[in-house]
């Protein structure tokens, strides 16, 4: 029998735990040429901001070993165009929309939350707090427990009660558990992790940085162990908080690894650039991985790596 992959996200039941990752699927339209967007657990949109945004200059991307750096700068049409064009399209295709929001002040986040709450059909809001806080000397919200909590509290206050709010955490912090606690205390219904890691590449021919923006976000399988570690630590500390896991998932096996660490949903990001039908493939592969192990329900394995080993076949201790 096929495993039961259904997952709850707030009041919505997702048919499966495979989501797109913000910034890697635009608002779903391009992917619809390759997959049925209604059969993905949910489409997590590219981060929406209040105003249209042109983003950063090119080159915006550099390929690295098993990864890539990007420095897009949140190019997008703004909330008006999103509500008028992108959200209705997603809903018309039967997709579930998780809307990622980004801002440069606490008030901008709050306004976005209010605008999305007035629109019908938003399954959840994912708060991209990896943005510079212009009111705090450009300090990234996600890197300061106080700032992160302030954004989440403002968003939660302006978001309709039945729309869950997930805070997306950056791994570039000393103590991710402290940030996670701050977000949950501020009212986050769940956590998404991880955002990209800040990286840089230098062209050894020109002897200059590859990216016009100098630094960029590192993603892809190169960062998966970091994602597993972050999810593990937060699950250990906050076992009841739902987690959307992401970070270099390329296969169903990779998705299962994040689920075992504690994620109840898994977002697919950079893999989509490599394979536009990655979400469909990874879902099939996850289904096979669970079936092969005789697992009937996804919830049976969420966070199971934390449980004391019962199998006689012990792991070799390292370090």
């Amino acid at each position: 029998m096929a495993p039961d992959l259904r997952t709850r996200l707030g009041n919505t039941e997702l048919p499966n735990p495979i989501l797109t990752a913000s910034g890697c699927a635009s608002s779903g339209r391009e992917l619809a040429q390759f997959i049925d967007v209604s059969k993905v657990g949910a489409i997590v949109t590219k981060s929406v901001m209040i105003a249209p945004r042109a983003g950063r200059p090119t080159p915006r991307m550099a390929e690295t070993s098993s990864g890539m750096l990007n420095s897009i700068g949140l190019q997008g049409p703004g909330i008006d165009a999103f509500l008028q064009r992108d959200l209705p399209w997603l809903l018309s295709r039967g997709a579930r929309a998780v809307v990622s929001i980004a801002g440069s002040t606490v008030d901008e986040y709050a306004e976005l939350a209010a605008r999305l709450s007035d629109a019908a059909g938003v399954t959840a809001i994912e708060v991209n707090i990896s943005c510079p806080n212009v009111e705090h000397r450009g300090q990234v919200f996600a890197c300061d427990a106080g700032d992160a909590g302030a954004v989440v509290a403002a968003v939660r206050a302006r978001t309709r009660y039945d729309i869950p709010v997930f805070a997306k955490l950056s791994p570039d912090v000393t103590d991710i558990v402290a940030i996670a606690r701050a977000c949950v205390s501020a009212g986050a219904d769940g956590l998404s992790m991880i955002n990209t890691l800040l990286g840089m590449a230098i062209d050894t021919e020109t002897m200059r940085p590859v990216l016009a923006g100098l630094t960029g976000g590192l993603s892809g399988p190169a960062i998966r162990p970091v994602a597993v570690r972050c999810i593990w630590q937060v699950r250990e500390a906050l076992p009841d908080v739902p987690i959307i896991g992401m970070g270099g998932v390329m296969t169903g096996r990779d998705a299962l690894e994040l689920i075992l660490a504690g994620a109840s949903m898994v977002s697919i990001g950079t893999a989509i650039f490599h394979d536009p039908s990655a979400c469909a493939r990874i879902l099939r592969e996850l289904d096979d991985e669970l079936a092969r192990r005789g697992i009937e329900r996804l919830s049976q394995v969420t966070g199971v790596a934390h449980e004391a080993r019962t199998a006689s076949r012990g792991r070799a201790g390292v370090g």
Binding site: C24, A25, S26, R29, E30, L31, A32, Q33, F34, I35, D36, K39, V40, A51, P52, R53, A54, G55, R56, P57, T58, P59, R60, M61, E63, S65, S66, G67, M68, N70, I72, Q75, G76, P77, G78, D80, A81, Q84, R85, W89, A212, G220, P221, T270, A271, I272, F273, H274, D275, P276, S277, C279, A280, R281, L283
Partner: protein, 338 residues
């Protein structure tokens, strides 16, 4: 939810393409892949994006190549031309017959073709000339005349010189080292060829500096020019936002347009060549952009294409009957299926 359930009859496909041949052609490689659906949907100017490195590859980004030719044999084949410039293209050059590649395509906005039988000049730099031969075939079907002007650093880097000679009404070559044709670069000869061929329309594909100069000269001769740009891409399907360049829409607004779906073909005068690699201050969403009376968003969004004119009113050129019509932007394929 499988890769073989496309929503649209004309949109791109993702297929397993079997390598038929990989051949060395002078400084380049030509790879022919069996990909029937892609061949059937192809229009000149479109491209494919290939995954490289095989299963568990450490190279995550697809490599985009304009389609050189499609043929009906083996159910439909697609040929791309490339130079080895890094690990990914080296891997591709090492493929052999019967190897299987993950191919997406046909991608991007094709070259629009004129309604009337006009005189077309096709300008190519390096292997940028690859997509021009299929375009030439399409133009001849429309009873257009086709002249070629191809250039490169050296003779072995002028791709398709023989085909250009054989099939063009005229074929002019330039090389920097003088090893083929005239010593110099294509734009040195552009004026002369335009005069001799009585050119009505220019199509160009090649490095960005060449396209910029071709556009400037076309403007001087008051000729419409369609350019296929070369920008680095990660996905090729419009989601990654890495291949953007500043393009002026029909509303006069500059947008950071994606060369993969809003292009790769643009009207030359729409591209703000001086600002490529930057975010112009007045671009849509840039710091200096002002929403005039909170303009409602245009359906279709970024990179307006249709009927774009020069940004300032001063040099407005009424579109001549020979001006190629702009087809609807494929990026706006919103009415899927049905």
């Amino acid at each position: 939810m499988t890769a073989s359930e496309p929503e649209s009859e004309s949109g791109p496909l993702q297929v397993r393409g079997t390598v038929l041949t990989v051949r060395r052609i002078d400084a380049y490689y030509a790879m022919t892949l069996v990909a029937p659906g892609i061949a059937a949907r192809f229009k000149p100017g479109q491209f494919v994006a290939l995954a490289v490195g095989g299963p568990d590859t450490s190279m995550l980004l697809r490599r985009a190549f304009s389609i050189h030719d499609v043929r009906p044999d083996h159910g439909g084949t697609v040929e791309v031309v490339f130079a080895v410039s890094g690990r990914g293209t080296r891997w591709l050059a090492e493929r052999r017959a019967r190897d299987v590649l993950d191919v997406t395509g046909p991608l991007g906005r094709p070259f629009p073709v004129p309604r009337d039988p006009v005189s077309c000049l096709l300008v190519g730099g390096g292997y940028g000339s690859a997509p021009l031969f299929a375009l030439a075939g399409r133009l001849r079907e429309r009873r257009c005349s086709v002249d070629f002007l191809l250039g490169a650093a050296s003779g072995d880097r002028v791709f398709g010189a023989l085909t250009a000679r054989r099939t063009g009404r005229s074929a002019t070559f330039t090389t920097v080292d003088g090893s083929l044709g005239v010593r110099g670069i294509v734009t040195d000869m552009l004026g002369q060829v335009i005069h001799e061929a009585r050119t009505d329309v220019i199509y160009a594909c090649g490095p960005m500096p060449m396209l910029r100069q071709v556009t400037a000269l076309a403007r001087r001769y008051d000729l419409p020019v369609q350019v296929a740009v070369e920008e680095t891409m990660a996905c090729g399907i419009g989601v990654c936002m890495t291949c953007v360049l500043p393009v002026v829409g029909s509303d006069g607004i500059t947008r950071m347009a994606r060369s993969c779906v809003d292009g790769p073909v643009f009207r030359g005068e729409q591209v703000r060549w001086d600002d490529v690699g930057t975010i112009p201050f007045d671009a849509f969403g840039a710091p200096g952009w002002e929403p005039r009376a909170r303009r409602p968003p245009r359906p279709g969004g970024d990179g307006g294409q249709a009927g774009a004119g020069p940004k300032s009113g001063g040099q407005h050129r009424p579109s001549s009957p020979s001006s190629p019509p702009n087809p609807p932007n494929p990026a706006r394929r919103q009415n899927h299926g049905a």
